[in-house]
Amino acid sequence: MKWSIKQIVENKPWAGWLLFFVTVVFVFFLGLLASSIIERRAEAQFVYSPKVEIEQFEPRNEIWGENFPREYATFLQTADTNFKSLFNGNGLNDALKENPDMVILWAGYAFAKDYNQPRGHFYSIVDIRNTLRTGAPNDTTPSPQPNTCWTCKSPDVPRLMAKMGVQEFYKGSWDKLGSEVVNPIGCADCHDSKTMNLKITRPALIEAFQRQGKDLNESSQQEMRSLVCAQCHVEYFFDNRQGKQKYLTFPWDSGMTVEAIEKYYDNFNYSDWTHAISKAPMLKAQHPDYEVFKMGVHFRAGLACADCHMPYISEGGVKFTDHHVQSPLNNISRSCQVCHKESEEELRERVYQRQRNIKELRTILEKELVAAHFEAKHAWDIGAQELEMKNILLLIRQAQWRWDFAVAGHGNSFHAPLETARILAHGINKAQEARRLLIQIFAKYNNFDVKIPDISTKEMAQKAIGINTQKLKADKEIFLKNVVPIWLKKAKEREAKYSVKYL
């Protein structure tokens, strides 16, 4: 080699220095590039610039609304009650009036007193206070319902659970926390106050997953968009075993199908109540929306609840999730038509077709069950023995469990029409089997004279099973006039002490 850096530097020392400074400049710019990348990465952390600092258990939706005006404005739209679909809607409709048979099916259980079609989340607190099921508690009489009933009604619940402990929260009667639970279902039920990410706030869901050996924390964003709903829109019961008191529990340990859940209950001879007419040990299904949705084609296609019930909307050049949680039928273009290219009328008709067919099947099963309850009563009246009745009562329990599982989830006939039809078919089969065995008992005692009272209206049906609706309503009026205002006053005083920190 003629020359090398070594020689150049030895001959001209300044060239060495030049090399040194060139390197300095190069490294300097490399550093600048790195810091630019860091800066732009950091920007992502400041995308969300809140106006109000939201505390960990902030229950007041309007405070969250300060930072998220669009989401809050659409959440307030859940107050709307003007939508009607074929069989349901978002208004206050008396379901028992529409279908008095249900009074008989729930005889001996609070649902026979009062049962309305569901309204929007906005009414969660108002409606639970108004329903005759929670009774008219005052200083001397407690509510017939446990405090557990508040669990799904308000973002005040996570706050109270953190304060009192979970089991302590469930204990006692429903009126215990009347002044504490005042904000309707809202932001803090599903969102983390710091990151705004979706978050599970109700222990029952976390525990149900743990018992199945699954970790909720590993759920993807898409799964979370269903799981936050699954905190409440599921089948549940109040567990009193092993020192627990009215502990909210999801019965999924052996699976989520109607049979698997039934097996879970059978394993410890659980029943929600004993039927007032037939004396059967009954189960009450409570809106198994999530479980049934998981058996349908839309779940298989990878959808989450939010995809249809909370679709994206754009307003003035901004897109956001519509927090007006509602029936997609009120919103076909933004929910169904994202994937389906048929017309609105066609899509609506497809849903109605499924709903009509399921309604047909459920009505058959309803009639069978009403007859079965009265026939079982007749069997007892003419002297049937416990041993003869045992199997019949079990069949009635199984048949009505299937009826309730199919009916209680209002979306079932769309979410999984095939599964719902399957469930109802099994229910009809079991109800008829019970009635066939009852006929044998009538033959044995030679008395076929079954008496079924007139139950053609809600009032007559309630009278027939001895519910004094007049008195319940009168007591409720007094409760709403005297007790609730005191609750509200206390709540107002308490919340006045909460700070609001504007940033």
């Binding site: 090398s4 732009r40 990465r41 992502a44 995308v47 994202v338």
Partner: protein, 194 residues
């Protein structure tokens, strides 16, 4: 070869310092790779595109579209005719993106360029080609006659698929997108906060 290396051999008394400085430069380059998540660009995950937060409108509109079930970003936005072409296009596009992003030259509404359009169009056909070649659809789809098949892009009409019509940088202020977390690893954070 030996000769070329000889050119760069520093004088004896420099050797130590040169090694240190070279180490610093190499470390800095490694750090650049780490902080820009350069390795993630080899994958097909949609999360990779969220390394730049300005892609949030595109990510979110895709996430709320029917294409979410079947196609991630790369499925449409890079060529799939062969693996070399795929990564060549990715690198070309990526370097342009990185440059614009670093210089803060991104427009308020990001629009696709001609090269990208062609790629998207050929990817439409990769999955939906039947719509053009199926004779049964000729009557149903009168505008896809031979002339039109060659001369127009799918997106010319289907322009809202799947990103919708609203795409400005500020169009999804509250979207829950998988933004990159802090570059400081968890174990270090724990040590610092203790």
């Amino acid at each position: 070869m030996r000769g070329i290396v000889d050119i760069f051999i520093p004088p004896k008394k420099w050797k130590f310092y040169v090694i240190i400085i070279l180490g610093i430069i190499t470390g800095l380059i490694f750090f650049l790779f780490y902080v820009s998540k350069a390795h993630s660009y080899l994958s097909d995950n949609a999360e990779t595109c969220m390394n730049c937060h300005i892609m949030a409108p595109q990510y979110t509109s895709w996430f709320h579209s029917a294409h979410r079930q079947y196609a991630n970003c790369n499925e449409c936005h890079v060529p799939h005719d062969n693996v070399f072409n795929k990564y060549f296009f990715k690198a070309k596009d990526g370097l342009r993106h990185a440059t614009i992003f670093t210089l803060r030259k991104e427009p308020q509404v990001i629009r696709i360029h001609e090269a990208g359009k062609e790629v998207v169009h050929s990817n439409c056909l990769r999955c939906h080609g039947d719509l053009l070649t199926d004779n049964k659809l000729q009557n149903y789809n009168g505008n896809t006659t031979n002339i039109n098949r060659k001369s127009s892009n799918c997106t010319f009409c289907h322009r809202e698929t799947p990103h919708g019509s609203v795409n400005s940088l500020s169009s999804v202020p509250n979207s829950r997108v998988p933004l990159p977390e802090s570059a400081v690893p968890h174990w270090l954070k724990k040590m610092i906060t203790k």
